[in-house]
């Protein structure tokens, strides 16, 4: 039973008592019965006040305090009608109360108003999880409170005209939308897969059918407790797709989305291969690849027409080039040029022009791809004082309802400025730390945002908070001193100070090392952090050497990794090595080797897993990476030799144990790391003949997405075996950088005819790409 009605009367009763004691209310009749019940003035006054009061309370209850009058368009029609009828009845009663007041019965009018409004509030009050309240379930038609569900079906990211069949029912041709009720009326739920569904390979069934996760509503009816509420859950459905006469193969499907209270928007995304579209997609991918090749052939010095062309590939093109930029840094400059072209940014642009672009991006309020990059290019041209003033105003005025969409754009520019100013001199307080950081704290109570920008104010705020409350965690902390994170109630001041990267925070961590370590233990050991990710602040003071937090915490961290998820040995090894790699020069080779020794290495799991663990060493400098890997190779070889010895085999016999494969994997890693010695060893051992072991291994590197190291190509190109020189050409064809093209020039005059022919073929292919008109390389050429 809802007790709001009863609670609502408590202040009323108390106030009546106060007014009675104060003599405001007389217990006996003051005036004779013949006296009139008020005059014109009293009636107008009391009715006006009552009306104003009733109106404020009605709007508050009906629109804000769990009332849905502002969201009627999102409800089911029957539920909307119920809400309107109830609101209408309330309005009638309020008018009746106004009438009572007008005839001099203001006391009754007030009582009626209060009873009606609190009753209204009780009736429309939502139950747990925004479900309908108990009274609403009695008044509204059954199930009218069920959230409206809208499904949007999509195939292959916007493919039009594809037929969607789910559980044997034809639903429609893309693009189309459907309500949840329509869907469930049309599509039966199948407990068993439909005929023709193949379970042979759950991920990629051979038949047309494929299993998909469909988001559906789940009603929870707990009328004695939380009431009725709706959650989203996944159910297995079976779909197949058809385009024209062709059924899609290797289909997959999923759905996602969410919504508010009474409306859920789910997107159903399905994918399948169609030979017709696959061809188009492949051709598009080829055009994009050729476009990239043209950039490489132009030494990444692309013209505006190239940018115009790549722009036709939109967000996907941007993301692909961004991915390439990790290995080919020059692509990062191309992204800059792209953003410059998109927003007409010039190097010597004026402050006014920069402000104009900034306003344009603020209007778009989207920081994806070009816009985010454009902000990075222009932020330092913006008037910082003006930017700070505007952002300050937004922070001060921002409420839950009127947050401007541009706030993230402004925040991005502010953060970039803060970073720049800190890099110039971190010890000088900057305008952002002096004005934005305190404003976030004062007006938004955004401690995290304030701490991210730093500054004396937030530091003092947190330090004083810690002085008042220095317990690390627990429910005994006052709610205002708690930070709920990773399923724990941590000391808010301690938590944020620990994560701050500033000289004062650094001093704090040194001074309160015990509490910081205790906090670290809680964070790393939390059940919500089962990957045992170490907190960033551990690595903020590595310059303190062995006194640094990360170094001192290493033994505890290593112990925690034992209980980490996933529980496989190579994952644990990877975590430990990643931690050590972050320690930089503080981590000795022995520490890495020790990790390897305690890793409970299981060779039967094959070398592929070892390669995954070895990738954690990528961040290390060559002088450390190579000896550590070699030490591991030595260990593995020792194990394999022992096995051979037990079986009475010759030490050099190629009896292939899994350890041997791991050794090869580790060598592969060394080669990829640019270790010439390992490459030479591989080539000298297995590099003879046309299709030898070394060639197969190296081909595998080249199939990776990453650009092969130049030294590897150089060694291959100079190798005496022509087959390996041809292999080098394969890498050159894929990555025709200036350095690689120089090697190609040499191979065009190779003494071996096979190599020369292959080189000429690569050269002519590259020439053809170079001469390709850019208009043929757009995402969707005319007439395609």
């Amino acid at each position: 039973m809802n007790i709001q009605l009863i609670l609502g009367f408590i202040p009323l009763v108390l106030l009546l008592l106060v007014f009675l004691v104060a003599g405001f209310i007389s217990r006996r009749r003051n005036q004779p019965a013949s006296a009139p019940k008020g005059n014109k003035v009293t009636r107008i006054t009391e009715t006006t006040i009552l009306f104003s009061l009733g109106l404020i309370a009605f709007i508050y209850f009906g629109c804000f305090n769990s009332g849905l009058l502002l969201h009627l368009g999102r409800l089911r029609p029957a539920f909307t009608t119920t809400h309107i009828i109830i609101a209408g009845i309330v309005i009638v009663f309020l008018l009746l109360a106004a009438l009572l007041s007008w005839i001099g019965r203001a006391s009754w009018a007030v009582v009626l108003t209060i009873v009606v409004l609190f009753g209204y509030s009780t009736i429309i009050k939502q139950a747990a999880f925004n479900g309908p309240g108990y009274f609403m379930t009695l008044l509204a038609p059954e199930n009218s409170w069920e959230p409206m569900v809208n499904y949007t079906f999509e195939v292959n990211d916007g493919l039009k005209g594809a037929e969607i069949w789910i559980n044997g029912v034809f639903l429609g041709k893309t693009p189309f939308k459907m309500t949840g009720r329509e869907f469930h009326k049309k599509v039966p739920f199948l407990t068993e897969p439909p005929q023709g569904f193949s379970e042979e390979n759950k991920n990629r069934p051979k038949g047309d059918w494929f299993r998909m996760n469909m988001l559906v509503l789940e009603e929870n009816n707990d009328r004695s407790g939380a009431g009725i509420y709706y959650l989203s859950k996944y159910e297995d459905y079976y779909a197949k797709l058809r385009l024209g006469d062709e059924w899609g193969s290797n289909g997959i499907g999923s759905s996602g989305g969410g919504g508010v209270q009474y409306q859920r928007d789910y997107e159903v995304s399905l994918r399948a291969h169609f030979s017709s579209t696959d061809k188009l997609e492949k051709a598009k991918q080829e055009r994009f690849e050729n476009l990239l090749q043209k950039a490489r052939l132009a030494d990444y010095q692309v013209e505006s027409q190239w940018i115009e062309t790549v722009d036709t590939y939109g967000e996907n093109g941007w993301r692909d080039i961004l991915r390439l930029a990790t290995d080919e840094k020059e692509f990062s400059d191309i992204l800059d040029k792209w953003a410059q072209w998109k927003y007409d940014i010039s190097k010597n642009m004026s402050q006014e022009q920069a402000s104009k672009i900034f306003r344009q991006i603020c209007k778009q309020a989207n920081l994806e791809s070009h816009a985010g990059k454009a902000i990075e290019l222009i932020y330092d041209k913006l008037d910082l004082e003006d930017l700070v003033k505007k952002y300050e105003r937004v922070i001060k005025n921002k409420t839950r309802q009127n947050t401007p969409d541009s706030i993230s754009v402004m925040r991005h520019a502010i953060e970039l400025w803060d970073k720049k100013l800190n890099s110039e001199d971190a010890n000088i307080p900057n305008i952002i730390e002096q004005r934005i950081s305190p404003a976030l704290l004062v007006w938004r109570e955004d401690i995290e945002g304030s701490a991210a920008l730093g500054g004396a104010d937030i530091e003092r705020y947190l330090q004083r908070g810690f002085q008042r409350e220095n317990r690390v965690s627990g429910l005994e902390l006052q709610p205002k001193n708690r930070e709920y994170t990773l399923g724990m109630h941590l000391n808010k001041s301690l938590y944020h100070l620990a994560f701050m990267d500033s000289p004062a925070a650094r001093q704090f961590r040194q001074k309160h090392k015990q509490q910081v370590m205790e906090l670290t233990e809680l964070i790393v050991g939390s059940n919500f952090n089962n990957s045992r990710k170490p907190p960033e602040f551990l690595f903020f003071d590595l310059d303190r050497g062995e006194k640094s937090l990360a170094y001192q915490y290493w033994p505890s961290y290593s112990v925690h990794v034992e209980s980490s998820f996933p529980p496989w040995w190579y994952e644990k090894l990877k975590k430990r090595w990643t931690y050590l790699a972050r320690l930089g020069s503080l981590a000795t080779e022995d520490m890495y080797i020790h990790c390897w020794k305690i890793a409970e290495f299981r060779p039967e799991l094959m070398g592929g897993y070892l390669l995954q663990a070895l990738q954690a060493l990528h961040a290390l400098p060559q002088d450390k990476k190579i000896p550590i890997t070699k030490e591991i190779i030595k260990e593995l070889q020792g194990i394999a030799d022992q096995k051979r010895q037990k079986l009475g085999l010759d030490k050099n016999a190629r009896h292939y144990f899994t350890e041997d494969e791991c050794v090869d994997t580790a060598r592969e890693h060394l080669i990829q790391a640019g270790d010439k010695e390992s490459l030479q060893l591989l080539l000298s051992k297995h590099g003879q003949g046309q299709n030898n072991f070394a060639i197969r291994r190296i081909k595998r590197f080249f199939q990776n997405e990453n650009m092969p190291d130049y030294s590897l190509i150089e060694i291959l190109a100079q190798h005496e075996n022509p087959a390996l020189r041809v292999l080098a050409l394969e890498a050159i064809r894929r990555y025709p950088t200036a350095q690689n093209r120089a090697i190609l020039e040499e191979l065009l005059n190779d003494p071996d005819e096979q190599v020369r022919t292959a080189a000429q073929q690569v050269a002519s292919e590259l020439k053809a790409i170079e001469n390709m008109p850019l208009e043929d390389l757009v995402s969707e050429p005319k007439g395609s």
């Binding site: 202040p11 009323l12 106030l15 009546l16 106060v18 007014f19 104060a22 003599g23 405001f24 007389s26 009749r29 003051n30 005036q31 019965a33 006296a35 009139p36 008020g38 005059n39 003035v41 009293t42 107008i44 006054t45 009391e46 006006t48 006040i49 104003s52 009061l53 109106l55 404020i56 309370a57 709007i59 508050y60 629109c63 804000f64 305090n65 007041s101 001099g104 019965r105 203001a106 006391s107 009754w108 007030v110 009582v111 108003t113 409420t399 839950r400 309802q401 009127n402 305190p438 704290l441 004062v442 007006w443 104010d457 003092r460 705020y461 947190l462 330090q463 004083r464 002085q467 008042r468």
Partner: protein
Amino acid sequence: MKIKISLLKILFRQILPVTLIALPIGCLYVLFTRDVLSWRNPWIALFVLVHSITIAVLSGRYRSRAFAFLYTRGFTRDELWFHKMLNTILSVMVVWLPMALIVWLPVRSYVQDKLFISPYFPLMMIREAQVPWFWLAGYAILLPLFHYVWIRRAQPLRGANGAVFLSIGVVIVIATLMSFRWHTLWFRILIYMLSAVMIVTSLIAGRILHRNLEVQ
């Protein structure tokens, strides 16, 4: 209308005890409360309510001999009403202004910062600066209404308890609105406008009805 200082003095003397009690309570609370002051602070709201009730009750003891004496000294009803309102403003100012100055000057911030080493100060001083205006708004809404209540009760008319109930309703609605922090701008504007309507109505009606006051 000319301000009569002697009348004002007599009226103020009636309210002096409550002012002498309210002033230190209000100032000490504002000075020493450790949490950041906000418009939703229930203790200050209660303080404003009780202070307003007391001012209205002390000004409107229309059955007392002192009241009857004053109303037979030759002042016009409008003069008396005007001076009572002036006296009310004065009484509120005597309490509200020091409390506000403690916040604004910033005595509170200094005490909290230096004496209590509060994490919130001097940082939150700027946010607290707007809070005294909400207290004043509370007085502005409640006092005209409470004055209307006693004037209405002193009329030769029935139904006086209706005005009392109405003022109880106002208090309940204010308390309800205080329970929620994020009122939208349009709703806030509506509240300001309707509050202004209530204040103006109470004041005009109070002035008109005061002319027909029955002094017993």
